[in-house]
């Protein structure tokens, strides 16, 4: 599988990257970890004239403490996120979800930013980012803007990041002390989620004070199960069933070789209960 020919640039600064993009216009593609872009190029589903590799821009890589939030550079590879102490302490849900992505090789290459901009509804990064109320930092010719996770995902493979723009940072409000779990349902270990549920909860005296639940692959974008979140408040380990039963309400999951929409709706309810249960330590 050989891609069509393209020009390649690897700028070392954000400004140079933006300039390279501006110059090429529609015909450029940004390269992050390449784990989605390279298959696309090799299968010739896309043939950009120029590829702008962000790999040498150090500023886009790394995880830092932003006070009330943690800030993750868009080019931070999955493997760093999984093992990072800040993430584990303040956004445990993200670490747990990212740990389930593909296999170790892909986790060493693939980046959080690349995954978010690629916006595969079966990808495992969107749901936790949505559930954790993250904010994305997007930079373009017109400067920097921030977009809430709720507005970020527009459709299948479509986000708020426009042509000529770059996602630079993901800011996640600290969820210190919250329990979390990511229930990913697959047939073989290295598969994309058939359905997955990201749940994180804050407990008070054994019952749920606050809950956040994100759904993977239950529609064309990651989804927030807000009704479930509300229904869970005040619930204990033994009475989750009814609160989680509505997890699939209002969703529009796909039908494919791995399961039809009805089956996915059923899975969403079961997995939501299991995710919340595990997040509660049950």
């Amino acid at each position: 599988m050989i891609p069509a020919a393209f020009d390649y640039v690897s700028p070392t600064s954000l400004d140079d990257a933006l300039a390279a993009l501006a110059e090429a216009g529609d015909d450029a593609k940004v390269l992050a970890g390449g784990q989605s872009l390279l298959p696309i190029l090799r299968m010739r589903l896309n043939a950009p004239e120029k590829v702008v590799d962000l790999g040498r821009i150090e500023a886009l890589r790394g995880i830092r403490d932003g006070g009330d939030h943690i800030a993750i550079g868009a080019m931070t590879p999955y493997s760093d996120v999984v093992t990072d102490a800040l993430v584990q302490e303040h956004a445990g849900l993200l670490a747990k979800a990212v740990e389930t992505v593909a296999d170790p090789q892909i986790r060493h290459r693939g980046t959080v930013g690349g995954a978010l901009v690629h916006a595969d509804p079966a990808g495992d990064v969107g749901a936790p980012v949505l559930a954790l109320d993250a904010t994305m930092v997007v930079v373009g010719p017109g400067g920097e803007r921030t977009v809430g996770a709720g507005e970020f995902f527009r459709d299948l493979f479509e986000t708020a990041v426009g042509d000529g723009e770059l996602l630079t940072e993901i800011r996640i409000p600290k969820h210190t002390g919250w329990g979390s779990a990511y229930e990913k349902f697959v047939r073989v270990s290295h598969q994309w989620s058939i359905v997955a549920v990201a749940a994180t909860v804050r407990l008070e005296g054994g019952s749920i004070a606050e809950a956040r639940v994100g759904l993977t692959n239950m529609g064309s974008t990651p989804l927030r199960a807000s009704a479930v979140e509300q229904a869970l408040v005040g619930k204990g380990l033994s009475d989750l069933e009814s609160a989680c039963a509505a997890a699939a309400d209002g969703t529009n999951p796909p039908s494919d070789l791995n399961g039809d929409a009805d089956y996915r709706r059923h899975l969403a309810a079961v997995l939501t209960r299991r995710a919340v249960q595990r997040a509660m330590g049950g």
């Binding site: 599988m1 069509a4 595969d120 079966a122 299948l156 479509e158 349902f185 399961g259 089956y263």
Partner: protein, 826 residues
């Protein structure tokens, strides 16, 4: 029948590390794609995105104009020299088979067929140019479903007039090997038990590790073709028989080959097209497929509907079995093709004593990828059917499934046993293998746990699956093949060259592609000739070095090729004996041979075989009338198959809330006769098990309504990895085969044949109390869950034939619409 040899051995039975692994694992070796020749040209294929179409025009102008392109050739350009992909086994003399042209001239019968080829200075340019070839297709109605094909409403090959290829029957009454099946069924219908089922063998993709690759060098006196194939000798035959090139002008080499699983038991369109382009241009050419091309264009496996009627008495004694198969050959009859399901004819009766038996097989064409051998070829299908049926019978009678098997199997004192299908099983001991397996498994404890989980209504239920299987290996006695209308023999050859400086060259006609022949063959020769293991070099896979051979498939290499090797070794000793006598100044009758030396009985006088080799090379002093050589050749044609067997036990957990299944325990005890190398055997068993489990749980080639292969990449064709399997418990019992002097039976396919029904039986057993008696393969969580939801009813829920796109909006992995004008669909 050959007596089993019982001379002492030191190498045979030792778990030697494989000598070939260093180079195979590091890749520092000659894979076909590693070959670079001066002036070599690279090819890219333009393939049809349509399942059924007429090619009304091909515009190559734009592609030809691309810098670096040397030629763009279509089917009509190479029509005279391209040859034909052959069928070695027309199962009946009136079998209908469309000509399988390597490159389509005007009629496309399945997606992925080659319609044009680009030759260019680099592989990248070839690929770019392939995108520019503009093919006009007139789409024709495609027949995709096997049962629809049987109605002939839409024809896969309109010129054939029907989709039916052939009908083949084996009947125990007609053959004099058993009773009348209709009578047995009628009796059972009256006052016994009749189990009637229909099972599906889904389509599978062999998924060998190394994609196929071919290099052809036409510049010498001989045309040399390197190919990633299991069957260099058959490829050479196919070329000679169909292209007009004399056989003596063709040399075929299978260098190191990265797996095949039957998927490279073929003469491929790609080989023939590469050859035709090389001959046309007079330049060396290379073609290496992509994985996506491999999945759609290399042959697939299985794909049957099995209608089964099992007749039994009320106590569970089986009186007869009737098998009616519908088999999907895809678009063409392949090399073994229509014969693959027929290989199951002798195996549906398996290890049991049935009074009457009838096997019926009808093969059909559809507009899908052609189907041919895949690990086990015919026998996994048979084993699946009978082992599923025995469980159903046990449920009907209300006894443990092991009890129903004990009641019906051949006991160890009944060997040799003439089966109702007409085979003579030479040796075996089903009781011994079963006892050992039950012990290792902890059968009773697991049954008790199953009971507890049922009683407590645990959301996770436990099931136990049994598969007591046998298979026929060691393909094959040539006379038997002749009687079946097969186009070739089943012998194998070996040569031994005693080199002058103490080392030994062994040439085998079997063509290894990952099995470890070099190691096992070295062990056999080391024992036989008393030379060090390290001093043996095994050569294979090149028609110039190993001119005679029938290659590697059907668990035949060791059983047939190993015996040829033993015979060649014995000839070496025989030829050396008079020379030794001459050199030792003793009589031939006074000599003994052991551990590589001839000694004069009762003295300390002796000479080593390798010293004789050096002596005879100089030729300075040897008896008159003898030829100055101790090298030897042997060709062995077996008189019978060999019949490995085993007992496989599997415990599966079923999550009734999601339908997910988890393997809890897997134990197998295989009787494969004498074991030459236990480590290689372990590898074959483990790999085989995973492949069989893959069919039960994960794998399936699915097409959409347009005839596009939806599971056309490893994203959607869910091939298991090590992370998806558990640690298996494997062990053995040994009843040596009597069809070869080593006592070996073959192990290459055992795991695959046995494991599939063990897994499915376990899953069905876990949920049988809910009213479920079948779940179609692959037993996906969705299918299991739906079965539970509609418990009691049958569950043939077909998956939605659609793949989820992970790459781009509206751009699935293979989009026929995208190929309307560009031919390069993949």
């Amino acid at each position: 029948m050959t007596a089993v040899d019982d001379r002492p051995t030191t190498e045979i039975g030792s778990a030697r590390l494989r000598k070939e692994d260093q180079r195979l694992i590091t890749g520092r070796t000659k894979w076909t794609d590693n070959i670079q020749l001066p002036g070599m040209v690279h090819l890219a294929m333009v393939r049809s995105p349509f399942a059924h179409a007429r090619v009304s025009g091909i515009d190559t102008a734009e592609a030809k104009a691309l810098p670096g392109v040397i030629a763009v050739l279509t089917g009509s350009d190479i029509a005279d020299i391209q040859g034909l992909n052959i069928t070695a086994w027309p199962i009946t003399t009136d079998q209908k088979a469309p000509d399988h042209l390597p490159m389509v001239v005007d009629h496309v019968a399945c997606a992925g067929e080659i319609v044009a080829v680009v030759a260019a200075r680099s592989a990248a340019v070839a690929r770019d140019a392939a995108e520019l070839v503009d093919v006009d297709y007139e789409e024709l109605p495609a027949v995709l479903d096997l049962k629809e094909a049987a109605t002939d409403a839409v024809l896969a090959h309109p010129s054939l007039g029907t989709n039916k290829s052939a009908f083949w029957q084996l009947d125990s009454k007609a053959g004099g090997t058993g009773g009348d099946i209709e009578e047995a069924i009628a009796t059972a219908r009256e006052g016994g038990i009749l189990i009637e089922r229909e099972y599906r063998q889904q389509r599978l993709i062999p998924s060998f590790m190394e994609p196929r690759s071919t290099v052809v060098d036409p510049t010498g006196d001989q045309v040399v073709l390197w190919s990633s194939t299991q069957v260099p000798h058959l490829v050479r035959f196919g070329i000679a028989a169909t292209t007009g090139l004399p056989e003596s002008k063709i040399r075929v080499i299978a260098p190191d080959v990265g797996g095949g699983f039957g998927g490279k038991l073929q003469t491929t369109p790609e080989e023939f097209v590469t050859l035709a382009v090389a001959r046309t241009l007079g330049k060396p050419c290379k073609y290496t497929e992509t994985r996506s091309e491999s999945m759609v264009s290399a042959h697939h496996g299985r794909d049957q509907w099995q209608k089964l009627t099992l007749a039994a008495e009320k106590d569970g004694t089986v009186t007869g079995l009737k098998v009616e198969l519908m088999c999907d050959l895809g678009a063409y009859a392949g090399l073994v093709g229509g014969g693959v399901p027929v290989l199951g004819a002798w195996m549906f009766n398996s290890i049991y004593k049935f009074g009457a038996y009838q096997f019926n097989c009808t093969n059909y064409y559809t507009n899908k990828t052609w189907v041919d051998a895949y690990r086990g070829a015919g026998r996994p299908e048979a084993t699946y059917a009978i082992e599923r049926l025995m469980d159903e019978l046990a449920a009907e009678v209300g006894v443990d499934p092991m009890e129903i098997r004990r009641k019906n199997w051949i006991t160890h004192d009944e060997f040799p046993f003439a089966s109702v299908a007409g085979m003579t099983y030479d040796s075996g001991d089903y009781e011994a293998a079963t006892e050992k397996a039950l012990g290792l498994f902890g059968y009773d404890e697991l049954r008790a746990e199953q009971q507890r989980r049922r009683e407590s209504g645990d959301p996770v239920q436990l099931g136990i699956g049994i598969s007591t299987f046998t298979e026929m290996c060691g393909l094959a006695p040539s006379r038997v093949l002749g009687s079946l209308n097969y186009g070739a023999g089943g012998w194998e050859s070996a040569s031994i060259r005693m080199l002058t400086t103490g080392t030994v060259e062994v040439i085998t006609g079997a063509s290894a592609h990952g099995q470890g022949h070099e190691t096992a063959w070295s062990q056999i020769v080391a024992d036989r000739l008393g030379v060090p293991f390290e001093n043996v070099e095994v050569l294979h896979g090149d028609t110039q070095i190993a001119p005679k051979g029938m290659d590697t498939y059907g668990s035949r290499s060791l059983v047939v090729g190993g015996e040829a090797l033993v015979r060649a070794a014995d000839k070496v000793i025989e030829k050396a004996k008079p020379l030794a006598a001459h050199m030792l100044e003793a009589g031939v009758d006074d000599l003994e041979f052991a551990a590589g030396r001839f000694t004069v009985k009762g003295t300390d006088k002796g000479i080593g075989l390798t010293d004789i080799a050096l002596g005879i090379w100089t030729g300075h002093d040897y008896p008159e009338g003898l030829e100055p050589s101790i090298d030897a050749d042997a060709t062995f044609d077996p008189v019978n198959f060999s019949f490995p067997h085993g007992t496989h036990l599997c415990a599966m957990e079923v999550d009734t809330e999601t339908g997910a299944t988890t393997m809890r325990k897997y134990v197998c005890v295989d009787d494969i006769g004498t074991i030459i190398n236990p480590l290689i055997v372990e590898g074959q068993v483990h790999g085989g098990l995973v492949q069989g489990i893959g069919q039960a749980l994960w794998e399936g080639a699915e097409y959409d309504e347009q005839g596009t292969l939806v599971s056309g990449s490893f994203v959607d064709y869910t091939l298991p990895t090590a992370a998806d399997t558990i640690s298996f418990v494997t062990d053995h019992t040994t009843s040596p085969s009597t069809s070869n002097s080593l006592g070996t039976k073959g192990v290459g396919e055992a795991g695959t044949i046995a494991s599939t029904p063990a897994v499915v039986n376990a899953i069905v057993d876990a949920v049988r109390h809910l009213g479920i008696d079948d779940i179609q393969m692959p037993c996906t969580p969705e299918r299991v869950w739906k079965a539970i939801q509609s418990a009691g009813g049958t569950t043939d829920a077909a998956p939605v034939a659609d793949a989820q796109a992970h790459f781009d909006e509206g751009a699935p992995n293979q989009d026929p619409a995208a190929g309307t004008t560009d031919g390069a669909g993949q």
